[in-house]
């Protein structure tokens, strides 16, 4: 690794740790209703929402009501996006005249954005109108992230409340998340991005005359370059912040109008990990013991850093297949070198590999380089980070509740070792919680592996593959790993815009999101009812290095045991082939 690479990675991680306490503390105050300065500014807006909808801010919901509210609200959003996409031809703001979206693509997209996955089987600038992007997708970017954070807030109340029947109100948690956290932050980020050159306009596509005319394959001479623009900055800000990841343009944040400079790149990369990392501190604050939050964050970094190093070094080493040609892949003062296929010069190797690791550690899924062209092990890193269940930072809210479910399993395993009833944060963990935790941990891998198997044995599945042999298998495995962990990034060579992939993918996204939210809320409801067990000498501390190691061990062992056989058929065999010949 070059000095500049190390510096950039260190700066990123350092700033990330530095923001955790202030931002996490602020979010804790928001959920406790104690953010005073923000309340003075935005409180009227919050109260207006409650008044219009006749929501009682003091309302309390049982876990089942909370879950039902989450599901109906998400279902309403899903249907709305589907209708918008199908009817966009007869709606306003369609300067490029893109026409209606095909039913299977509209269904996939609606599920994708409602579930915070933001998988995109379509090519954005040629498929969606500004109207659909704004009223459908931008809105889902906000509310799907807010849904995840609201469910986290409810889950945390399961620990902080004692002998209680309820978990708070979904409407209040949702409104507060949007009004106090997501909107103000997105506004600041969007304007920063415009200052760097991210486009924000409702005007027609621009065009300019080419300096050197060219011949098209059809034989005619091309003299014009049409430049697709649009209201991108507002959507890009929340796509990063809300761990959504769905690009305004087809190539996402590799597009110069979506991510024009290394500075905009840093802002976007930072925004995508900011909330999931800070929520660890929020959690600690809300349960009254910030050491617990720091321990979870430490566990995340312990997994993140080695994988980041692997991705960077693999990409920097270049592609051995080009080794025999008169091509210079070595890093020097004049070039970053390395595996540059699918990467942009302004980002080079370091920030492309950092982005790939960050975006899949979080369940963001935006990209600034084409992951399909990464080296085999460089591509294994993002794939495995998703397969670990999106708990290393993970989605906004969903990452942390996923990690807390792993913490339940960790204390359970520890309890088995010493023969004591396991406890976490003063709550006894019993059969019911463990059953629900198993569901949360087992459903996504089952979806990934079954869907991958189906695609491998059907013509419809195999036809989509864009690269030969092991890499083609990796494309399929990546697609379902991404959708069943609500990530949304892709090995984009896979032609996924078909009824087969759209439908099967939508099932994975839907199952992985809501099949987890319901058991997570069930655990929260059950924990809230319990009394707190006083600490004794036999209580396992869950804030020290031993527990961090236990937790990391559980996450890695579950992830490894489930996926190594599949990974061996894809990236691992490809790595051996690449370096063997």
């Amino acid at each position: 690794m070059t000095a500049s690479t190390v510096l950039q990675l260190a700066l990123f991680c350092g700033l990330l740790v530095a923001i955790v306490k202030p931002l996490g503390g602020y979010m804790a105050r928001v959920y406790e209703g104690e953010a005073r300065i923000a309340s003075r500014l935005l409180g009227p807006l919050e109260r207006l929402v409650y008044r219009v909808l006749r929501v009682d801010p003091g309302e309390e919901m049982t876990w089942k009501t909370y879950a039902l509210a989450v599901l109906t609200f998400n279902l309403a959003g899903l249907l709305f996006v589907y209708l918008l996409a199908r009817m966009q031809a007869s709606l306003p703001l369609d300067p490029a005249g893109v026409g209606p979206v095909a039913p299977h693509a509209a269904f996939n997209t609606a599920v994708s954005f409602a579930t915070n996955t933001n998988w995109q089987s379509y090519s954005a600038e040629t498929t969606l109108s500004y109207f659909t992007q704004m009223l459908g997708l931008t809105v889902q970017n906000f509310v799907s992230a807010a849904t995840g954070m609201a469910v986290l807030a409810a889950f945390v109340r399961g620990f902080s409340r004692k002998s209680a029947a309820t978990l708070g109100s979904f409407w209040v948690d949702l409104t507060r998340t949007v009004v106090f956290i997501l909107m103000p932050l997105a506004l600041v980020i969007a304007i920063l991005l415009v200052s760097q050159g991210v486009v924000q306009t409702f005007g027609d596509h621009a065009s300019g005359s080419l300096v050197e005319a060219m011949k098209a394959p059809s034989g005619e001479t091309v003299r014009e370059q049409v430049l697709a623009v649009g209201p991108a900055a507002s959507q890009v800000a929340i796509k990063q912040l809300g761990t959504n990841g769905g690009g305004f343009f087809a190539v996402n944040s590799a597009h110069p109008f979506e991510n024009p400079t290394p500075l905009s790149n840093f802002v976007e990369m930072f925004s995508l990990l900011m909330l999931p990392a800070s929520l660890c501190y929020t959690f600690g604050k809300l349960i009254g013991d910030t050491r617990q939050g720091w321990a979870l964050l430490a566990a995340m970094f312990v997994i993140f850093l080695p994988l980041l190093a692997l991705a960077v070094t693999q990409e920097q080493a270049g592609n051995p297949a080009l080794g025999g040609l008169p091509i210079d892949q070595a890093a020097s003062a004049l070039q970053s070198g390395g595996n540059m296929e699918g990467k942009e010069v302004r980002f080079g190797i370091a920030t492309s590999a950092l982005w790939a690791t960050a975006t899949t550690a979080a369940s963001n899924g935006s990209v600034n380089a084409m992951l399909d062209s990464f080296t085999p092990l460089g591509g294994l890193v993002p794939m495995w980070l998703m397969q670990l269940g999106e708990v290393v930072f993970g989605g906004a809210g969903s990452g942390l509740y996923g990690m807390l479910i792993f913490a339940l399993v960790a204390v359970f395993v520890a309890g088995l070792m010493v023969g004591r009833t396991p406890e976490l944060l003063g709550k006894k963990i019993e059969a019911y919680e463990m059953k629900m935790a198993s569901l949360v941990i087992l459903v996504p891998p089952a979806l990934v592996l079954v869907a991958t198997a189906i695609a491998c044995v059907t013509d419809a599945g195999r036809r989509g593959v864009g690269n030969p042999s092991a890499h083609g298998f990796s494309e399929i495995l990546y697609a379902f790993s991404s959708q069943a962990s609500n990530n949304g990034s892709a090995f984009a060579g896979l032609a996924a815009d078909t009824p087969f992939y759209d439908t099967l993918g939508a099932v994975c996204m839907f199952g992985a999101r809501y099949w987890l939210i319901v058991p997570v809320l069930a655990v929260a409801g059950s924990l809230a009812k319990k009394r707190s067990v006083p600490k004794s000498r036999g209580t396992l501390p869950t804030h020290d290095a031993l527990f961090v190691a236990m937790l990391v061990g559980v996450v890695l062992i579950v992830g490894a045991l489930t996926f190594i056989p599949a990974l061996a058929l894809g990236p691992i065999v490809e790595h051996l082939v690449a370096h063997g010949s």
Binding site: V139, V199, A237, V251, P260, L263, T351, D372, A431, A492
Partner: protein
């Protein structure tokens, strides 16, 4: 506690009422939040963008002699020896199609990737046969967007003598132009040093016109 005792018995009529009222609230909440985040928020961002950064909000267009010739941020295809060439582009049907961005998505072990890179290296060699240095990797690999406006300083240095010769300009003059269009790392730290190909080529054309060369 057993699985069953965690479920509280609820009379079914009450559940029905709850679902209906929840659905009403859900639709209302969606409508209000759509207004806030789907209308108010993007309009607010657009208003601030128009006021503070109008040029950038519309695509950082480059205007030369009163007409738009592209964007500062988007590359263009160049194939004549007298221009610096940019990154290879995988957009369809023509390279640098800024209406449909795309990468090649060729996997690292795909034979097509190797063959394409070999052909690109040969094409560069064909227009500059005396240059036997290895080709910088960014000149033989497709960018992620297909619209990358930049090449590395190494790629500019590699092409410098060819461009100078094709234009009959002294090498030092071209080198000075390249240096003037090289951007360092942002804040001295972020990203990579890079050369904006379109702006550099426009500057070269301007120099030639100013010198009276047709």
């Amino acid at each position: 506690m057993s699985f069953d005792s965690a479920l509280e018995p609820q009379p079914s009529p009450k559940v029905v009422v709850t679902v209906a009222s929840l659905a009403g609230k859900a639709i209302g909440m969606l409508a209000v939040l759509t207004l806030l985040t789907g209308v108010l928020y993007p309009l607010l961002v657009t208003a601030v963008a128009e006021a503070a950064f109008p040029g950038r909000a519309h695509g950082s267009l480059v205007v030369e002699d009163g007409k738009v010739v592209g964007s500062h941020l988007v590359g263009q295809p160049f194939s004549e020896p007298r221009y610096f060439w940019g990154r290879p582009s995988a957009t369809a049907p023509v390279p640098y199609n800024a209406g449909a961005s795309a990468g090649s998505n060729l996997g690292p072990t795909n034979g097509t990737l190797t063959e394409t890179a070999r052909a690109r290296a040969s094409a560069l060699h064909a227009v500059d046969p005396t240059n036997t240095l290895p080709v910088p990797v960014d000149l033989v690999t497709a960018s992620g967007s297909g619209l990358d406006p930049h090449i590395t300083p190494a790629a500019a240095e590699y092409q410098l003598r060819r461009v100078a010769r094709a234009r009959g300009l002294p090498e030092d003059r071209v080198r000075a132009l390249v240096a003037a269009h090289t951007e360092g790392r942002d804040l001295g730290l972020l990203g990579e040093p890079r050369v904006n190909v379109l702006l550099l080529n426009l500057a070269l054309d301007r120099v030639e016109r100013g010198a009276g060369v047709p």
